[in-house]
């Protein structure tokens, strides 16, 4: 089982910690459901970041202690949150005005597939019995300033999630700028995927074999620091 040992790479927390390093001080940030939600726990010391959630809160904080959840104080993932001093509530049209109007600086999303041109698929599989459900994903990718993805490098079945062309229905065209996976940090450039950082213990050839599109290697390739 040497292959499966080799491709474990980073934990979910380590992926979140690495993604958090990219968030600039003072940014307005929207975090998708899943691993992206973990990112809030790893913002580097000294930076202040304000979180936006589609359902109408700016400046929310971590989950409350058990027993103190308020069913009317939840995030877009419908999980309980808290508010911090300086927060604000607003209605859905105003919330998506923030998104569509380009006021969200940074958005971290999960992905089913990312294509080498930045196309993102993260809302629907091709399964015949799938219930289509899109939520705010399409609004976020077309509106937020910088769209990055945090995802496992391959599916549970081992298929590449970074591909030449998405086979699932698209969420948005050419929107992703960077991908944080359990194996690497990869930029989406006009020339396609460029490997910037690689997880400890992972080699470039293995990574290429797990990536469904050409993968250029940056001259200054680094090891992911988490």
């Amino acid at each position: 089982m040497t292959v499966s040992t080799a491709i474990v790479g980073l934990s979910r927390e380590q992926m979140a910690r690495r993604a958090a390093q990219d968030i600039p001080d003072g940014a307005y940030v929207n975090l998708g459901i899943g691993i992206p939600e973990l990112v809030a726990g790893f913002i580097p010391a000294g930076r202040e970041v304000i979180y936006h959630t589609e359902n109408g809160i700016l400046g929310f904080g971590p989950p409350p202690p058990p027993g103190e959840e308020d069913p009317e104080l939840i995030n877009a993932g419908k999980k309980p949150v808290t508010i911090k001093p300086g927060s604000a509530f607003f209605h859905h049209a105003d919330s998506f005005a923030m998104i569509r109007g380009g006021h969200i600086d940074f958005c971290i999303l999960g992905a089913m597939q990312v294509a080498q041109n930045g196309d993102l698929a993260n809302w629907l599989t091709n399964a015949p019995d799938a219930i289509p459900a899109v939520g705010g994903a399409m609004d976020l990718v077309m509106g937020a300033g910088n769209i990055v993805v945090v995802t496992e490098h391959v599916t549970r079945e081992g298929a590449p999630k970074l591909v030449e062309k998405c086979t699932y229905p698209l969420t948005g065209l050419g929107v992703v700028t960077r991908i944080f996976t359990n194996l690497a940090v990869i930029d989406v450039t006009k020339a396609g995927f460029v490997l910037r950082e690689i997880a400890p213990g992972v080699d470039v050839e293995t990574l290429k074999s797990l990536t469904g599109a050409p993968l250029a290697v940056a001259d200054d390739l680094k090891t992911v620091s988490v």
């Binding site: 109408g56 104080l73 509530f89 859905h92 049209a93 219930i131 939520g135 705010g136 994903a137």
Partner: protein, 236 residues
């Protein structure tokens, strides 16, 4: 004297006719007007088009309305959840229609309807299957999709404070679709946690001005969907 207060959820929804289009507030359970929905189930109006962000959980509230067979079509951004079986089963069986609308487009369409804007352009969905068949237009080199405003016959909304003029405040993230849905409905029906005298809401802090509201009913201890689901409650 203007008095929009009605005595019960049953009275508030009594004139909703078969075939009506009904906006129902809430994002998940936050802001879901569960007592008004249950009154609508009791009332029995059918062949409804319901516009709501989700499709409910368990067998209470919106899920129960769907389970009761009263909904012909859902207009919705996210019709599935971890605890939502009613809609998926009916949808797979071809017994309910779905118009899937991205959440921000849904919100803007409702706001547009309330504001007398029949259509607007948005970048959302460009290049995706959800833009197929829609009018496109290029502004400053970027492509946009035209979306239509949504108006409805009724809105069912949950708010926090309300006065006899229909002025409203909301509770935290339960605000979500409430203000825009009130504006887009011919008749906006609102359940409030507490009724106050005029002036009981600071005019600077009114979130929905009463002009958008037709009926207000006090429901002091509204149920929460998740609590009912956890208790195994089903409605009716």
């Amino acid at each position: 004297m203007i008095d929009k207060q009605v005595r019960s959820p049953a009275e508030a929804v009594a004139d909703i006719a078969d075939g009506s289009t009904v906006l129902i507030g809430g994002f998940g359970e936050a802001g879901s007007p569960i007592e008004l929905i249950h009154a609508l189930i009791d009332h029995g109006a059918k062949d409804l088009t319901v516009i709501s962000n989700n499709t409910g959980n368990g067998r209470v509230g919106l899920a129960a309305l769907i389970a009761a067979g009263q909904v012909r079509k859902m207009v919705c951004s996210y019709p599935r959840s971890s605890n939502s079986k009613v809609f998926p089963e009916l949808y797979r069986a071809g017994k309910i229609e779905l118009e899937l609308v991205p959440q921000g487009t849904l919100a803007e369409r409702i706001r547009a309807g309330g504001a007398g804007v029949p259509a607007f352009y948005t970048p959302t969905t460009v290049g995706t299957v959800l833009a197929e068949g829609k009018e496109h237009k290029v502004f400053e080199g970027r492509e946009y999709v035209m979306e239509r405003g949504i108006k409805a016959d009724y809105a069912l909304v949950k708010a926090e404070l309300g006065d006899r003029f229909g002025n409203l405040t909301y509770n935290k993230a339960a605000r979500n679709f409430g203000p825009i849905m009130c504006s887009a409905a011919r008749v906006a029906i609102v359940q409030v946690t507490r009724f106050v005298e005029p002036g009981g809401i600071d005019p600077e802090a009114v979130v929905t001005p009463g002009i958008f509201v037709s009926r207000v009913v006090e429901v002091p201890n509204a149920a929460h969907e998740s609590v009912l689901v956890a208790q195994g409650v089903t409605y009716p």
